[in-house]
């Protein structure tokens, strides 16, 4: 497969490999192709940022990996391969390769993976915690589900993990209800819950969208230091390009269910190749840019999922639109630089010459 990055020898095998994954919503009004051929790898200790606007399929990707899609949605094709520890609580445990799409969402195996091997940091900690149980009880429940420990031991683990995410007075805070905690503490508690079973893969779905800037900075710093300390892999889902630049090693740019571009974070931000990524980066106001200048914009708006444009999903808004090409067939992910892939006909049909003219226009 030419559109799949080959494992580079100096890296290890990927922890998670999502390959050509398609998840569709089958509804009365029609079929929504929420994920239409998404491929990316997550290597051990790597932070992969998935960035995109609303409707780009970033949250569906998260749900498809965890097999928690809504009943109307089905994985149509593709694979999600996880390198799984046979005994998740033993760091030296032998590994097995699991094909998650073959597992039933409610199977014992899948339920064992969630929380222990793959943990989720949801967007809204207020909605994620039950308001009628203390946060401690909820974390202890998770720990006892995956680890063979007594209630007392589990409580101690919970207190330790509370301390490691920077919650002061963990012995007291563990007995509070989620609504008694402030926004930042609640987010820390949910991170503690996700980390409580030492997962090797964390999926953070817009973990800082609902909180204030100064608290967001704290949470980002915390996630970064925890990641470095534990060498956890993280899939970081967000719409905020600033957060992606701060957090990710690798970036996957999505638009209407498809990967537009992916590559190392420095490549994406300094050498973006796909017209969508380029336009998106130009259109965001920055604290570092001059005030009251006219921003370059992307014309039009995101297509409604029911009438997705044919061909490249971005073509109606693209300044490099080529009639008869872009609106006819879908481009494939093509390598444009080392580890850097873009899905655009600029890099496919005529090869190098078009690549040059495409970038010069900007």
């Amino acid at each position: 497969m030419q559109n799949q990055p080959l494992p580079v020898p100096d890296r290890q095998e990927p922890l998670l490999r999502v390959k050509d994954l398609k998840a569709y919503f089958f509804m009365d009004e029609g079929t929504v192709k929420a994920m239409d051929g998404v491929s990316f790898d997550v290597f051990p200790g790597q932070v992969v940022g998935i960035v995109g606007e609303s409707g780009c399929g970033k949250s569906v990707t998260m749900k498809a990996i965890l097999q928690i899609l809504e009943p109307s949605a089905k994985i149509v094709s593709g694979s999600v391969t996880l390198r799984n520890r046979v005994d998740s609580q033993n760091p030296n445990s032998p590994e097995e390769t699991l094909e998650l799409t073959h597992l039933h969402p409610n199977s014992k195996k899948m339920r064992k993976l969630r929380g222990a091997e793959i943990a989720l940091i949801p967007q809204e900690p207020m909605a994620a915690f039950s308001p009628v149980h203390t946060v401690g009880d909820q974390i202890i429940e998770t720990i006892r589900l995956h680890q063979d420990v007594s209630k007392k031991q589990a409580r101690q683990i919970a207190i330790d993990v509370f301390r490691s995410v920077g919650i002061s007075m963990p012995e007291q805070r563990i007995d509070s209800y989620s609504w008694e905690l402030s926004g930042g503490l609640r987010q820390r508690a949910i991170i503690a819950m996700a980390l409580s079973c030492n997962p090797r893969l964390l999926i953070a779905d817009e973990p800082t969208t609902a909180i204030d800037v100064t608290t967001q900075a704290q949470i980002l710093k915390l996630l970064r230091s925890l990641q470095e300390e534990r060498q956890t892999s993280i899939i970081f889902i967000t719409h905020d390009l600033g957060v992606i630049a701060q957090m990710a090693d690798e970036v996957v740019v999505m638009y209407l269910g498809m990967v537009m571009e992916k590559g190392p974070v420095s490549e994406i931000f300094s050498n973006a190749q796909h017209p969508y990524t380029q336009a998106l980066l130009r259109s965001i106001p920055s604290v570092q840019s001059a005030p009251r200048i006219k921003l370059p914009t992307i014309a039009g708006s995101i297509a409604h999922p029911f009438n997705r444009p044919a061909g490249c999903p971005f073509h109606p808004r693209c300044t490099h639109f080529m009639r008869g090409v872009c609106n006819v067939s879908q481009p494939k992910l093509t390598q444009v630089a080392k580890n850097h892939f873009a899905s655009c006909f600029l890099f496919q049909t005529a090869g190098e010459s078009l690549v040059k003219s495409g970038t010069e226009q900007n």
Binding site: Q218, A245, F269, S270, I284, V287
Partner: protein, 349 residues
Amino acid sequence: MSDGQESLSPAPLLEVRNLKKYFPIHKGLMRKVVNHVRAVDDVNFFVREGETLGLVGESGCGKTTASRCILNAFPPTSGEILFREADNRVTDLTKLNRQELRRFRPQMQMIFQDPFASLNPRMTILDIIGEPLYVNGMRNRAERSDQVAELLKLVGLRPEYMQRYPHAFSGGQRQRIGIARALALHPRLMVADEPVSALDVSVQAQVLNLMLELQEKLHLTYLFVAHDLSVVKHISDRVCVMYVGKVVEMAATLELFNTPRHPYTAALMLAVPVPNPARRHLIQDLPGEVASPANPPSGCYFHPRCEHAREVCRNQSPQLREIAPGHFVSCHRAEELQLAGIENAKPHP
């Protein structure tokens, strides 16, 4: 651009003096008032005619409450809201009753945050934009429809769309409809409360550009309320930073971003994630969290989180004062502190 024009710049269109809005906290069977949430606590600022004042702060800082008080959506607890009419008469809006206020309402309009909640799904675009015209005396439907067509063109939508319902439009288009409705009565002051925060990144820039264009064309004055510093920097001439119901700093945009004088402003700016992976080490975290406006700390509300706090900060509440021409700050140590601002990066290639 700030210093030279300072003396020539037009008089304030709106001036807010000692504005306070306290919400009572009731408790018990008798609904006894036990405390107050000091949402807006002695706030002073002004907006000059034709400029944009950005009102920025984190949640609970009172920026929305202040803007609602100005529009008299609810009456302030105390303070003055001085509005200058076209004939230079200055009126204190807080002293007026409902009937007297009606004359002022068309002159100040609001752009709302959520374009999905602020348009009635059962009304056509014609009815939505035409309603303020109807209420203010334009009873002829044909005349109204002409006017709506003009307004739609002004905000970059096709007039043929006016028979459609809001559901047929995307978020960015709906926000344009909201702006057209606000423009219908030729307001002089537009209060925009987080007008782009609900929009997708690629659409935000369109709406910001539209607001800048309209301001130039119609000589509008904006009070732009937002939490996103990059957006505020992009659109504002001057910026006013609030923290727990108080103004901590107010200055011309570039001056504020380059040389902040209040530690909170500096920390807030450095907490914004910059879309540049080469500058990761720069992200600063401020310890602690925003204080509760129901139970604020003593002295300067920011002192528990401030690395520069001294004894005086714990005991005395600082006053907002003019430290340089047009630069207001409320910090005891503003003169002596050297705070890092944001340097301007080169624009994106």
